[in-house]
């Protein structure tokens, strides 16, 4: 009897978007991230948010 091995592969990825608190503009938040050395992957002005975690790109 022949046996066939089937492998289940799982991939885990995380994306994190930061939204500024009331009273803080998106540009101010981006400036803060740059000041703190945080990698900014994308600035999404339509949705007022910044992508700061991306395990596929990092």
């Amino acid at each position: 009897m022949s046996e066939q091995e089937v492998r289940l592969v799982t991939k885990v990825e995380v994306v994190g978007w930061a939204t500024p608190r009331p009273g803080l503009s998106l540009d101010e938040l981006v400036a803060n991230f740059h000041r703190d050395g945080v990698t900014v992957y994308e600035v999404d002005r339509d949705n007022n948010r910044v992508r700061v975690i991306d395990t596929e790109e990092s």
């Binding site: 991939k11 885990v12 978007w17 975690i53």
Partner: protein
């Protein structure tokens, strides 16, 4: 950077998929913590590799969704959460957030090796996707 599901996490998924008698709870929440210890396949709790100084957890914003073989989990960590701590690891748990601690045997899987200082200047929405592939 490690990105994985642990053995216990795979047991949770296998048991739920086939409705085994183990009665595992479903994956219900996400955590962030500032441990620099990499996750390993044998982990069952966040502090298995060493004490976790700071940890926060949240229930999903809404029920997870599936597209083909990818399941998406979304959780928000608000402006007042985890302030002054650095997000280094992100994880899924098969328990509600109220039951999740750094010592609870609820860890399913996650990613490590991140470095994002959480401040009160922003809320953080994390999307964690698991894709299953059969080879």
């Amino acid at each position: 950077m490690g990105k994985l599901l642990g053995n216990r996490g795979l047991q949770v998924i296998a048991g739920r998929a086939s409705n085994t008698a183990d009665a595992f709870l479903e994956i219900d929440s996400m955590s962030i913590d500032d441990s620099t210890v990499a996750f390993t396949a044998t982990d069952t709790a966040l502090d298995d590799g060493g004490a976790v100084a700071n940890e926060a957890d949240a229930n999903f914003d809404s029920a997870p969704t599936r597209s083909a073989q990818t399941v998406t989990h979304v959780a928000t960590f608000g402006t007042a959460v985890f302030v002054g701590s650095t997000v280094k690891r992100i994880a899924l748990h098969n328990a509600a957030a109220a039951s999740v601690t750094s010592a609870s045997d609820t860890w399913v899987g996650g990613v490590d090796g991140q470095s994002l200082v959480k401040s009160a200047d922003y809320s953080l929405v994390l999307t964690l996707k698991i894709t299953y592939t059969s080879l």
